[in-house]
Structures are given as C-alpha cells and as structure tokens.
Amino acid sequence: MSSQRPSAWYAVPAFTFFALFAALPMLLVIYLSFTAWDGLGTPALNGGENWSRLLDDAEARASVWRTLVLMVVSWLVQTPIALLIGVWAAGKQRSRAVLSSIFFLPLLLSTAAIALLWQALLEPNFGAFVGGPLFLGDPDIALYTVVLVISWQFIPFHTLLYQGAARAVPPSLYEAATIDGASRVSKFLHITLPQLRYTVVTSSVLMLVGSLTTFDTVLILTNGGPGTATRILPLHMYITGFSGFEMGYASAIAVVLVVLGTALSLAVMRWSGFRQMSSQQEGS
C-alpha cells in the first residue's frame, strides 16, 4: 500500500522554498546583527557592538515606547468596535447583510491607498477638517492620528472574524435565555462574550502583532515625524538600515522585533488558555 501514498518528494518544493526565502532570512538576521554592513560591501563581524549600542540608544528606547503606546491604544480602540459591529452584523436581517457588505469595503484598499487617502483627508489646508487640529502635523497627537487610520483599516477585518464566530454560537443558548427573560445586554454579556472568547484571543494576537510590525502606514503618513513623534520600532529599523546604511545595527533592531512579537503571541495565548482552542473547535 505504501507505494500508493505520495512520497516525501511532494513536500520538497514547498519546504525548500520556505526554507530559502523565509527561514534562512530569519537565521541570517541574527548573524547580521553581529556584523557591520553598509548594504554594499561584505558584512564584517564586529562582535556584540550593535547590541551594546542598542542598549544605550535613547532613540531606540523611545521608539519601543511609541510602539507599545500604538499597540495598546489600537487594541483599545479596535476591539470594542469590531466586537460590537461583528456581533451586530451576524444578525440574519437583510439590512444588516447590506450594511456589513459596506463595512468591509476598507478591506479592499491597500495600505498605501489608505495612507494616501487619509493623508489627503487630514491635510490642514485643503482637507476635510480645515481649521481643525493639525492631526499628523501635531507632535502631541500624530501618533494617535496614526492609530485612527490603522483602526479604520483593520476594524473591518476583525469585524469579519467576530461576525463569523458570532454566527457559530448555538441559537439554543439564546432561546433558553429568552425563556428565562434575560435582557439583550445580559445575553450579550453572559452568552455571546464567553462564546467568543477564543475569537477575542485570535483577534487580539493578530492585532497586537500587527501593530507591532506596522510599517508602511507610518512611512507614508508621516515618515516618523513630526520630529520623531511617530518613529515606531519597525520604522526606526528601516530608517537605520536603508537611509542610514547601518544594516548590521538595523538587524539587531529586527531581532528585537521578532523576540517581542513571539513573546507577545505566546503571552496572550498562555494567559488566555488558548491551548484548549483546538479541542474546542474539534468539538463544534
């Protein structure tokens, strides 16, 4: 019978391709973080120089802090809206189906398109809010403005996740609660939310890692400015590497990004008991 089964060769092209262009770069970035390289010549080992420099780099520390602010505020803005709209859109009413097909429209735009659209919209002289706040030009609120743009872009995606999950909640649970005379709010709090807890975890991991690695939106909207008000960690890495030509040092920052991202995913999953998720899904 074994000859009837596909040989391991069937998997070799996919594995090779992944190893070459995703896994190998992952290892190379660690190596490069111990080198000095200007992007043109050959990377030369320089011991732990990049790493000791990183520890003393006030700008890197500040960019980590901005990244954390961006992550937390994005999560706080996006999660409640996506959850409420997602549960609402899960309803079977025709009006809800029509409106939710409109809610998903931002998903069709590329990040570049969204960033350019919002940049024009928020432009202080000819945009939609002439005479209002400077938004991207005001160092005090630029980072929060970036959060708004990111939220506009990604809430529809998370709405979609919540809509799918809310539709999978067994109707019998609601029927029983209705017979008991439970209010709508109480049904949401005691049935919908607990049923959606694994979706909240999935959505939160994607959202937090997504904000950690936000790059193109900020590059186009502000390029890190005004001053360095929106220079978050991935942008700091990009500017250090591709504008400052310090590729070795930028690689050290990249390693920090990977470590932060992995730690974050693991922490959220562990803290929320994500491990039971697979068995939960198999049962449903």
Binding site: A11, P13, A120
Partner: protein
Amino acid sequence: MKSRPNWPAGLFALVWLAIVVGPLLYLVTVSLRTRAEYLGKSVWALPDALTPDNYVTVLTGGFGQYLLNNVIVTVATVAIVVLVTVPAAYAVVRNTSPFVQKGFTLLLMGLAIPAQATIIPVYLMITRMQLYDTLTAIILPTAAFALPVAMLVLVNSLRDVPRELYEAQAIDGAGPMRVLVSLVLPLARPAIMTVVVYTALNAWNGFLFPLVLTQSESSRVLTLGLWDFQGQFGTNVPALLAAVTLSVLPIFVVYLIGRRFLLSGLTAGFGK
C-alpha cells in the same frame, strides 16, 4: 428568532457606516474635481462640475506599466504558491514520515515570523542573487511568506476528506499522481480558492518587499507607484486620489462578483 429591533445598536451601526463611507466618498468625489476647485473650494461644498481629467492624467502617467507589473507579480506569486502547496498538503495528510511531519510543523512556525524583520537579509540575498530591481525579487519572498497560511488552509481542508476515499482509489490501482488530480484537486477546490484569494490580495497590496527590492520605474508595482505619484503630482491631490481609486477598482470588481470568496480568503486560517 424574531425580536424587536435593537435601536441603540442600529444607531451605532449607522454612525459606523458614516465613518466607513465618509472617507471613501471623499476619495471618489475629490478624484472627480478639477485641481482649481480642490484648491479654491471646501471639500464639503458641492462641486460645480465633475471631470474625468484626473483619470486621463493618471492613465497617461506610467499607471499602465505599474498595473501590468502588479498583475505579473500577483499571478506569478499565486501560481508558485498553489503549485508547491497542493502536493505538499497532500503529502502532509497522507505521508507519515518524520521529514514531512516535522517539516510541516516548522513551516507553521513561519506564521509567527514578521516579514518586516527579514527585509535586511532578504535584501542581502536578492542582491547576491543578482535579482535586485526585478519583479522576480518581489515574487520570491512574497510567495514564501504566503506558504504557512496556504499550507494551514489546505491541510485543514484535506484532513476532512474521509480515509476511505483515498483507499478506494488505491484499490483501483491509482498512483499518487492520479489521486492528486482526480481526488485531491476537486475536493480541495474551495480551500484552493481561499489560498488564491489570500495570496493574490497580499501580492496585489504588497508594499514592503517592492520598496526594499526594487528601484526603477520599469519594475515598479502599483503600491509604490501610488507613493511615487504623491511626489510627482505634488499638490495635485485630485490626480493622486484618481490613481488611488484606479488601484482599488480591480479588487472592487472581484468583491462585487465573489464577495464570499474574497472575505473567506481574507480571514484564511483565522476564521470559519
């Protein structure tokens, strides 16, 4: 289950509708205004006349080349991903050797690798391979980073195929290649569609790899082209927004035709 309308939620949904639609309306209406009107009048005021001129400006300004490059990158990326993942997913489901199973586990760990963190080594590799500033340079890493999700979706779908179906084919004397074509391909079709949509959207909207791996106009893709238009058009915001609108149009058409496929491709692997 019939129930009375939920007014507060409905109101909230309408507010959200305005927030979603407002910027999109702005995008389309400003792209149809003359530059003079954009500079002279508030965007809230009704325009005197709408004009397609901005679209003409964009279409005669390199947009066609960028669009073509985008199509090439997207088609090639999707082709590579589907060609390598379908046989691999079949092997993962039907071949129990440690090489295949361990390899699959490693590949899934790739879900956690942020592409942003790899741009420097990818840049190093691409320049060493003499591929810098070519479309191939964009295609290779874009396809590689689509593999984990694609494999996850395909393997999950093929695991649902009852073992008896494979065994019946084997009794008929079908070799693995024939099983792949006559059993796996038809059964995995919805999953393959999901993979196609997910990969195509990523490739179509990609920004980071093109930014770092290409330079000249002949290998510029749409997203970078838009960014470049911003410099080229300066204060000609209506023309810039016409370019943005044009870049969204192909995906909008797909959305109108196959909303279900598009949405399932977007949440590939993360939702039901």
